[in-house]
């Protein structure tokens, strides 16, 4: 193949007319780069979240009043435990604490550290800190974003929470979580459940919600029905809804990005089509000259097909590789904020490299097919024109 006259001529035309091709390649690389970047970020975030879902309880129930979430009575636990097929019933205490009204907030999670599993997890998270000290004074573990915020506001060792009764509660910062937890824990504060109750002014008879597992997934709907029969004012969220919402969370298929991509690609293809169709374009003339020297329509189409294929492949590979480097090596500066938000605490997440070949293939086809069409259709029209007309 490397010795083939056709291949030599093909590469000759591509490199001799590189100024013409560079424009197409640059724009194509930009389009592919943008789309692949979005794809990589969304895939990576989705994959991490989906993988993490194994720690999500199967069912979460909470109380509603007039359609709004209110504290859940703790006595519901007894009734839920009695339902066959239910296990690991856990009351949860958590909520959002606003540092300043309608502005920065933290997500406080109260944990029962005397639970065996919780204890084990705690030990692996704060293995360097004396556990006794953690329990002897009011202490908390803060996420990376919370820690940074607090340092910025000169709270380096402890923070005083304002209580609902107007008082203050000073809580020591025992540990700052690793930045690798930022995807879920950037704005998180983990503290003993009693402390969380105190900060939110919740008494012992209520919790925020109740979580439990149902090992037999075919029993889920049955048990949900039983729950609705047991309690009128109940809201039940099951893991299936979480999975569905995560799938849609960064779904590139919908939304602004796809619209932008389609508009961009349509504009680009139109420009290309115009360029090849122009009466006095050099491409038109060159095709006419080749036809006049004995090239058939098939030969011309073959030349332009391979030329476009090389440009497409080069653009695609460069776009994807650049996107990969930008997202997974540089951790997507600027763009990540679009996905994670920047209104509350700024978040920086280390994205796990994820490549979905099916989606990359789709991007290639969505990009390549219009590109081939916008090049080959005018080329075919010019090639079927009498060469003398094309050479004008």
């Amino acid at each position: 193949m490397l010795n083939s006259p056709f291949f030599s001529f093909l590469t000759l035309l591509i490199f001799k007319q590189k100024t013409k091709h560079i424009g197409v390649v640059v724009i194509s690389v930009m389009i592919i780069f943008l789309l692949s970047s979005i794809l990589f970020i969304s895939s990576s975030l989705q994959q991490t979240l989906q993988k993490n879902l194994k720690n999500q309880p199967d069912i979460i129930v909470s109380s509603l009043k007039a359609g709004r979430s209110v504290d859940t009575p703790i006595e519901w636990i007894d009734k839920i435990v009695e339902i066959d097929g239910v296990e690991s019933v856990t009351p949860r205490v958590y909520g959002r604490y606003f540092f300043t009204p309608n502005e920065n907030s933290f997500w406080i999670i109260g944990v029962d550290f005397f639970d065996e599993q919780s204890n084990q997890n705690l030990k692996s998270l704060i293995d360097q800190v004396e556990l006794r000290e953690f329990f002897s004074t009011p202490s908390m573990i803060v996420g990376d974003g919370v820690g940074e915020f607090m340092r910025g506001h000169f709270y380096s060792d402890s923070f005083s929470f304002r209580l609902p009764d107007g008082g203050f509660k000073e809580v020591k910062i025992a540990k700052e979580l690793l930045s690798s937890t930022n995807l879920i824990a950037n704005d998180m504060i983990v503290m003993p459940q009693e402390l969380a109750r105190e900060i939110f002014g919740m008494d012992d008879e209520v919790v925020t919600d109740i979580a439990f597992n149902i090992p037999n997934s075919s029993e889920w709907d049955n048990i949900i029905t039983k729950l609705h029969l047991l309690f009128y004012d109940i809201r039940v969220v099951d893991k299936r809804e979480m999975i569905k919402s995560y799938r849609g969370l960064y779904n590139y298929k919908g939304g602004l990005f796809l619209v932008l991509y389609l508009v961009t690609i349509a504009t680009f293809m139109l420009i290309l089509y115009q360029r090849y169709s122009m009466v006095y374009s050099s491409d038109r003339r060159d095709i006419g000259i080749l036809r006049a020297t004995g090239w058939s329509i098939k030969d011309i189409l073959k030349l332009k097909f391979y030329e476009t294929l090389i440009i497409t492949m080069v653009s695609f590979v460069m776009g994807v590789v650049l996107a990969y480097g930008y997202i997974f090596v540089l951790d997507a500066p600027l763009v990540l904020e679009i996905f994670l938000g920047g209104a509350n605490l700024a978040n920086s997440v280390e994205l796990v490299p994820t490549i979905e070949f099916g989606l990359l293939g789709s991007i290639f086809l969505i990009f390549a097919i219009p590109l081939f069409g916008s090049v080959l259709i005018p080329v075919w029209r010019i090639a079927t024109t009498p060469p003398k007309e094309a050479m004008l």
Binding site: P5, S282, I289, A292, T293, G294, S296, K388
Partner: protein, 222 residues
């Protein structure tokens, strides 16, 4: 041998005002013969040459080259005929500006199924005949009019065609280069090639080789 029988070329055939570019052309050109077709602009000279070279199709009539009818060939055969038998030299040279002299000369042989070594030797020979070898690697945009013409000649000769067709070959050349061009034609004629020239350059009234002059007026041979 080229035989043209009852050739018509009509433009805007379906409209109310069709234009007859060629009317009932009957012509025979023997093998190795040189024919000069003279006439004013619009007389149909270029159209006739295009049809002989299979660059265009007639509305009716036949063109037979060496016993093979070429006027209604499908594109793939018409292209093969052009690549094999025709060397066309255009008035405006029609070279690919982004390529060099050698690269332009190579173009007709790309689909010839010859290997690169053979192709390069044919290109070298052709450039030598056209006296443009010394500019082989130079870009077309850097050449003078005469040099471009010689590059076009080299390209036309590279596939060793039997028929050389020239459409106003000296229209963009000065006298000196025109004479040089005629000199090259003499050598080609001596090799036994059929030469057809459409021109209204008076230099072609007295060619140094035997030739026939045909006059065309309003699409007809007079």
């Amino acid at each position: 041998m080229i035989e043209i029988e009852a050739l018509y070329k009509i433009f805007y055939e379906q409209s109310s005002n069709p234009f007859y570019a060629l009317k009932d052309i009957n012509l025979t050109i023997a093998k190795g013969e040189a024919v000069v077709i003279s006439g004013v602009s619009g007389s149909g000279k270029s159209t006739l040459l295009s049809i002989i070279a299979s660059l265009d199709r007639p509305s009716s009539g036949r063109v037979i080259v060496d016993g093979e009818p070429i006027s209604k060939l499908p594109d793939i055969h018409a292209s093969a005929y052009r690549a094999r038998s025709i060397g066309f030299i255009f008035q405006h040279f029609n070279l690919i500006e982004s390529l060099s002299v050698e690269e332009n000369v190579i173009a007709p042989l790309i689909n010839s199924r010859l290997d690169m070594t053979t192709i390069y030797s044919m290109v070298k020979r052709s450039m030598e005949v056209a006296n443009i070898s010394h500019k082989a690697s130079q870009s077309i945009s850097e050449l003078s009019g005469g040099e471009r013409q010689r590059c076009a000649i080299a390209r036309a000769l590279v596939n060793n065609p039997n028929i050389i067709i020239c459409d106003e070959p000296t229209a963009n050349l000065d006298r000196e280069n025109s004479i040089l061009f005629i000199d090259i034609l003499s050598r080609l004629k001596a090799e036994g090639k059929s030469i057809i020239i459409a021109t209204h350059d008076p230099l072609f009234d007295s060619l140094p080789f035997e030739s026939r002059v045909i006059e065309m007026v309003d699409g007809e041979i007079v």
